[in-house]
Amino acid sequence: MSVIGNTALKFSEEQAMLLDVAREFCRDKSPISKVRAQLETDTGFDAALWDEMVALGWAGIALPESCGGSGMGVATVVPVVEAMGRAMLGTPLISTTLAAQFLLRAGGENRFEGVLAEIASGTTAALAQLENADWGDTSIACSITADGVLQGRKKFVADAEVARLFAVLVNHEGAPALAIVRAEQLPAGAITPNTLIDQTKRSASVDFTGVPVTAENLVTGEAVAEALRDVRLLGALLTAAEATGSAASCLDTVVDYLKTRKQFGKLIGSYQALKHPTVDILSAVDSGRSFIYHAATLVGDGPLDRDAEIACRMAKAHATETLLYAGDRAVQFHGGMGFTYECDAQLYIRRAQWSQQQFGDAQHHRKRLAALLLD
């Protein structure tokens, strides 16, 4: 068998339609001026816009119909997130989708029907998993006491300040467990916002110490570990999809500038020193799109298999390195303008650093790919 392995790539009519609608929506509703208007707000997004996205059904596209979703699977979130990445539109869609997937995969379709229905109708949710900066650290210090009280702090919780629900990874008798916490349960001052390199994003540390969790809001057992692994892979995939969209619009920004800026009497796009790396960006974006839709083809509602795991890891490893390169070159190719805050290149180079560090960087995934492919 070849190490190249599975090369399935399918794109359904529904996905195509969704991609079309999402691209148009994001283009119309989130021009760069609107993106910039959100950079220094508390929430980082326009609540009215989120409501429109919810009305379009996007908060529930991956959720089962029994929970008020459209039952189209997590693969259909990929085109939406790619479109959002293209428009640099920051919303809690990724966080909410992943928190919901954690609940769904760990608890099963029926157990959290009510909570998932809330999410499908627009209740924002966040995934609280990390306790330090190491994506490879499997230890969990945040624990739940015998009488059901949380003890500990989670870090880098994306969209924590706007989340109404938290899917919290906790240590229950030495094994991973999932606790559901409502924002109202958090004591005052529990959330400490981060200052992020990507100003379109929001995250915070959240101290869950003292929050009581009832038995019905605690999932234990082996399903949690598997669900966690899959949710992290899906997180990698959605981050990759978003980064691929951002890299594509970063490429457009570079191309526009290369076609209009003149130096030494010539359009700078005629210089091969700029032209060829721009073609490299194009090729990398092309590969990125192939990887994310390949992964989308392989991820289903059930546990992710080996091929799906390989696909998600490859998508992430490739997409965020692509955006790092595209953003880096975008700044350089804009010359003096590129060094300014006013130039849009900064949005992409900042997004690139953020995306690289979500759900494991390229090295993290290649290391695991090596084990999957070579051992």
Binding site: V3, I4, L258, G269, L282, S287, R289, S290, A317, L374
Partner: protein, 400 residues
Amino acid sequence: MSATEQELKDFRGQVSAWMKDNQPADPGFLLPQTFMEVGDERQLEFLREWQHKVWSAGYLGMAWPKEYGGGGVERVYQAIADQEMRRHAVPICFNVIGLGWAGPLIIDIGTEAEKARYLQRILSAEDIWCQGFSEPDHGSDLGNAQTRAVRDGDEYVLNGQKIWTTMGNFAQYMILLARTNPDAARKYDGLSYFLSPMDVPGIETRPIRKITGEYGFTETFFTDARIPADCLMGEEGQGWKIAMQTLQYERGAEAGAAGGLMMVRVTIDDMIEELHDVMRDGEPVLKDPVMRDQLVRMIMEEKAIALGDRRAHIAPLTSDYPGSLPLSHKLRTTEMTRRMRQFAINLQGAAGGLYVGDDEARQGGFWQRAYFNSFSATIGGGTSQVQANIVAEHILGLPK
């Protein structure tokens, strides 16, 4: 009527059995992986005999018309035969310019006389074909070709020079691009296309020694060489158009090729398979974290191209820059191959410094030679740098 699945399955079994029974024994010298590596007479004779055998068995030119030596059946049969040839790792069908370019061209636009004269002998490998497009001063700038063809009665008189003529010293015929009108307003309009014999006084070839140390190309000199006027294909001035059509076949866009295994593809699996037992720091090289990372990058690169081939057929996923995947395909695959082969040398430790001829060279120096030969693809058919310009200008719309 289309073949049924059962018929195709039976056919596959039949080809497979034939390949197994007729797979030639190891001749004791390195066989060419591509037609550009046929360097000496013994390689030539070996490959000529093999191609003749494949054709005689009915597994070459299967979709070409029956009256010209072909099989007259649906293309799908040839595709199956090709897959089986690849699977059984038999030698290549080396008459590639004839099988893949000149043949399909003659079938598409040739006269009855041309078809009768050339096609069967291409398949049987009685006539080897070469290509005279590139010139020393006009490597990637084909439209500027300066070799002259002057009409004199019922002959054309050729003067000039071509270069990188693959198998020029072995070929009986050449597809030749020459200038019949130096005064044409557009340089392209002064070009004409010939099916020229090589065994003519005034046509001389000089083998070029390649970076590998072997032969495979020639320089071809034309000094008042006279060829019959009916060697002109189409009409005077149509040379550029016909040359572009020829390049379409080269790029695989048209389905007219006679088939046959045209090159031995070396995959990343081959590299892992062959080199997995190399040691590094006292451990198998595949355990080395740095080398593992490099390998994963290469696997991803190859996989991305395979996935891109799939995505290219899904219209909603190619709307941003339509044409980007096919147009950058040559650039990406050839560059990837070059890097992969270089890495295969890198993997070998001190043995990477050995070369063809050393008894201890891994696989007889296969990877070293393969790496050097990979430049024929990153340079030939438009260098990677020219390809990048083409992609930048045609796909991204960047200025010239």
